[in-house]
């Protein structure tokens, strides 16, 4: 059907209402079907269109087509109430990706060792499981592990916040991966959760120290101290005593105190080795 053959044309006022987006959707659909085929009406419509609105609509279309898709992890994070830009930051932060892999690999190795299920394997699992998230935290910030660290430093995003976001992500993933493995440690399914507070305490102490010294150095020192204590105590204590009720309370106290120290000293996270943060 050509325009001259059309039985009807869009009236001027209807045209204007359509251009403003104020038309009833049913009538608007009818106008669209007609205009698609009728050159006269298209011409009539063109000058009434608001170019700002058209640009906005087109930008919306481009964005729908063009924007990188939110991946599964990102959508799950947003579902849990994480802000969209923070979720994006988390999933595209490669350091976290590698930190996750590192944590997972370390724990799987110890799960294998723990499968033999004697006292030593349980102890081994409980001593090493908290180190996996610690390793993740250690590589969460700094020029040694972040290929674009120079750009990160020069950007206005708060660096302590960035470190905490990444550390939280590492801890969260560690919990998801390590807890089920711990539950399979025979005769001691308490191992599934007994590593958690020590892990939190080690991470909190590391974060508090990272406000003063390089984070990898801090994590190394904390990890070494932890292993020395565990190995030292093992001589006259059982795993049940070392990770039992009293010990768990001590771990909680350490975690809270270190967390407070990190909070109080947050303004110090500012400078290290002549580089601003």
């Amino acid at each position: 059907m050509t325009s001259s053959e059309a039985a009807w044309h869009v009236a001027g006022p209807v045209c204007e209402l359509y251009a403003q987006g104020a038309l009833d959707p049913v009538i608007a659909a009818s106008v669209e079907a007609h205009v698609a085929a009728c050159a006269d009406c298209r011409e009539q419509l063109t000058p009434t269109a608001d170019s700002t609105r058209l640009h906005a609509i087109f930008a919306e279309i481009v964005d729908r087509i063009d924007a990188p898709r939110a991946n599964l992890v990102e959508r799950v994070l947003q579902w849990f109430g994480v802000r969209a830009d923070i979720a994006r930051l988390l999933v595209i932060t490669p350091i976290v990706r590698s930190a996750w892999l590192l944590a997972i690999a370390a724990v799987l190795l110890f799960a294998l060792a723990a499968a033999s299920a004697d006292e030593r394997a349980v102890l081994g699992f409980l001593a090493v499981a908290p180190l996996a998230p610690l390793a993740g935290v250690a590589i969460a910030y700094g020029s040694r592990t972040d290929p674009v660290h120079e750009l990160v430093v020069a950007a206005p995003f708060d660096k302590l916040r960035l470190l905490l976001i990444r550390a939280t992500a590492v801890l969260a993933v560690s919990v998801l991966v390590i807890t089920p493995i711990g539950a399979f440690v025979e005769d001691r399914s308490a191992a599934a959760w007994q590593w958690l507070l020590p892990a939190l305490a080690l991470a909190a102490v590391t974060l508090a120290l990272a406000e003063r010294i390089d984070i990898t150095v801090a994590a190394g020192a904390v990890g070494a101290t932890w292993l020395a204590i565990v190995v030292g105590m093992r001589v006259n204590h059982t795993a049940a005593a070392m990770f039992g009720g009293l010990a768990q309370i001590i771990f909680a106290i350490v975690a809270v105190c270190a967390g407070l120290a990190a909070f109080v000293g947050r303004d110090r996270f500012n400078y290290s080795g002549g580089i601003w943060k």
Partner: protein, 286 residues
């Protein structure tokens, strides 16, 4: 208005002094930081980009002092920085990478951020490869990705460390066009060791050697420092600081007049060579 005012900047790394009393006064427009490799250009720019702390000296940028955390944050909000080696995440697509930096630059609203990413990718001519992984790009294209992230948010101050490294001649010309547009109404400070780039786009030049700023002026003022010291002669002058054979078969000598030589009009290269290549260059005043 002065954007950057630095007096006597010093920065040491262990025993070496990379920047040794550099003094800069940078205003709106495009300024080139010119110096040989190892002269302290990168260290100076890293200090100005709020990455490195200075050991001593005074520094005010955009009216603020980067040693103060609140001031530093404000400077970073108004700064675009291309490091000498930005160290790309190679597994990212071009869009993802620039989007990541945009989040770090506090572009929290997704739509506005994506529009901005598209704008800067368009500016550097990378719209077509936005979904390509960075590891698949050539060196020159990667450099443009780095440039794109520096342009996010249309910053008042652009600090670019060797922006033309890896560019072919055509890309270099396009870059000049882009920078001269970007330099209108804002401050661009770029480092290079290529006098061509500087002559083409920089309104002002700061010559730096051995960590010190030895001259500040327009390209023609740099050239003028060699007035009376550039000679044409039939033979190489053994006493010249530098001498080379030119197209016409004669020698161009920098230094004192050889026998039977006639004086030439100095170029930017001549001025630069004499500023950085001769002992006592530190004493040349602006």
């Amino acid at each position: 208005m002065t954007t950057i005012e630095a007096i006597g900047l010093v920065r040491r790394f262990h025993r070496t002094t990379a920047v040794d009393g550099a003094t800069l006064n940078i205003t709106a427009g495009v300024t080139g930081l010119l110096g040989p490799n190892g002269a302290g250009k990168t260290t100076t720019l890293r200090i100005l980009a709020t990455v490195l702390a200075r050991d001593s000296g005074s520094l005010r940028m955009l009216g603020r002092d980067p040693s103060n955390p609140a001031d530093r944050l404000e400077i970073r909000r108004r700064l675009g920085y291309l490091p000498q080696d930005p160290g790309y995440q190679r597994g990212f697509t071009v869009f993802e990478f620039v989007d990541y930096i945009a989040i770090l630059k506090e572009w929290t609203v997704r739509r506005a951020r994506h529009d901005e990413v598209r704008r800067v990718l368009d500016m550097v001519g990378l719209s077509d490869v936005r979904d390509t992984k960075i590891r698949k790009l050539s060196g020159g294209m990667r450099r443009r990705v780095g440039l794109a992230q520096a342009l996010i948010g249309d910053p008042e101050l652009l600090i670019l460390d060797e922006p033309t490294v890896g560019f072919d001649p055509q890309q270099r010309l396009r870059f000049r066009d882009m920078i001269s547009q970007a330099g209108e109404g804002r401050t661009v400070l770029l480092s290079t060791h290529l006098t061509d780039d500087v002559a083409a786009i920089c309104g002002r030049i700061v010559v730096i050697t051995a960590g010190r700023t030895v001259f500040t002026g327009t390209p023609s003022e740099v050239a003028a420092t060699a007035a009376g010291r550039v000679w044409s002669s039939a033979d190489r002058d053994p006493a010249a600081d530098v001498a080379w054979r030119t197209e016409d078969g004669r020698f161009r000598n920098l230094g004192t007049a050889p026998d039977g030589a006639h004086l030439l009009t100095p170029t930017l290269d001549d001025g630069y060579m004499l500023l950085v290549g001769t002992p006592g260059a530190d004493e040349v005043a602006a």
